[in-house]
């Protein structure tokens, strides 16, 4: 039972933290909860489908189907996070400084929210399909259904708790800093996911690793420690990255940062901070 709890917690942690950050980043958008819930439900349904098709997916693409699927899911999530950040950098200030503009932006905001739903669905899909597969596996072993389910529920509750903690913590950030903080977090999340995407493409021998590892900080901060895990989830920390992973990571940071700079709202562009 404890085994199920720990694994489900570990798998749900990443998705829960991401949902927490994205929910906070989208807090000014109308009908946010409906889209968040839609993304979660779609992700869970997709997880069950992927878990059932796991054998077939694994054998696709010459045994590299799983790597391809992971890379595609991560790539789509990175694209949507990038778009969210760039869109937000244009509208965030107007939205907090001028309530009426929120109404004006609803049409555009709905499009933005569908991007957010996709990000959430992708995160739930990736972590969820592994979890479902693992729980199926445990049930077919000697473990009783009740034990596995209660363990899984415990782990899931802990994961969701951490996600809520992240969300509540972010809401306490002063409004003046709020969009900067959430934009920074989303930027790091997206870069970390791009790095992971590179790792799957390397694992499947689709792209070269180049220098491997580029550096090794595992003696300082191991990936399995609590802080290492948190940094891995939040900022894509990897104690032994290959050069290709670093290129994907830094490339994503640069692309999103340039995108955000180019579409800045006029108030920000003039260097005069909007009244908050």
């Amino acid at each position: 039972m404890l085994g199920a709890a720990i694994i489900v917690f570990r798998e749900s942690l990443e998705a829960a933290l991401l949902v927490g950050i994205v929910a906070a980043a989208a807090r000014t958008l109308p009908h946010r909860n409906r889209w968040l819930a839609g993304g979660i439900v779609a992700g869970i349904l997709g997880s069950v489908a992927v878990a059932m098709a796991a054998g077939t997916i694994a054998e696709m693409a010459d045994g590299m189907g799983q790597e391809m699927l992971n890379a595609i899911v991560l790539g789509l999530a990175v694209t949507m996070l990038a778009w969210h950040n760039i869109w937000m950098s244009r509208h965030a200030r107007e939205m907090i400084s001028d309530a009426t503009s929120v109404v004006r932006e609803v049409a555009e905001g709905a499009r933005e929210l569908s991007a957010i739903a996709i990000v959430i669905a992708m995160a739930v899909l990736r972590e969820g399909s592994e979890t479902v597969l693992f729980l199926f596996g445990m049930m077919s072993q000697e473990q009783s259904l009740g034990q596995v389910l209660s363990g899984g529920a415990l782990g899931l509750a802990a994961g969701i708790g951490v996600g809520f903690g992240m969300y509540a913590g972010l809401l306490r950030v002063p409004v003046r800093w709020f969009f900067t903080v959430t934009a920074g977090l989303v930027l790091l999340l997206a870069a970390g996911m791009a790095g992971q995407m590179a790792r799957f493409l390397i694992q499947g021998d689709i792209i070269p690793s180049l220098a491997n590892p580029l550096w090794d900080t595992s003696a300082w901060l191991s990936a399995s420690s609590a802080v290492g895990t948190l940094l891995h989830v939040l900022a894509g920390y990897d104690p032994r990255p290959s050069a290709m992973q670093a290129i994907f990571y830094l490339g994503t940071v640069a692309l999103i940062a340039v995108g955000m700079y180019l579409v800045r709202s006029p108030a920000a562009a003039s260097g005069r901070p909007a009244t908050t």
């Binding site: 085994g3 796991a54 045994g63 597969l133 596996g137 290959s242």
Partner: protein
């Protein structure tokens, strides 16, 4: 310097040759063999056959790899090129019993 040039000249040859394959079997939530020796400095293809009916996740922080292997299927995981050293791996779904190590030399 001469050695470096020589090494660079050898690189394309290494890249073109198919990576050596290493076979691993998962049975009763254990890896067999639990210790695999591979040459350092080149890419290796791990071919992991899961003979159990339950899925397993091959995972290694040291090798920077993770892959779910459904019950009764075979998966490939490319690793390396590795520096000489020990690289532990484990089955995330059965961490107590499924453990092993890749030794690059």
């Amino acid at each position: 310097m001469k050695r470096l040039i020589l090494a660079l000249l050898c690189l394309p040859a290494i890249a073109l040759a198919a990576p050596p394959e290493v076979q691993l079997v998962i049975k009763d939530h254990r890896f067999q063999p639990e210790e695999v020796r591979v040459p350092a400095g080149q890419k290796i293809k791990l071919v992991i056959q899961n003979q159990d009916s339950t899925p397993e996740e091959f995972e290694s922080h040291e090798l920077n790899r993770e892959k779910v292997i459904p019950g009764g299927t075979t998966a490939n995981v490319f690793i390396g090129p590795l520096n000489p050293g020990k690289y532990p791996f484990f089955g995330e779904f059965n961490e107590k019993t499924a453990r092993g190590v890749v030794i690059a030399e």
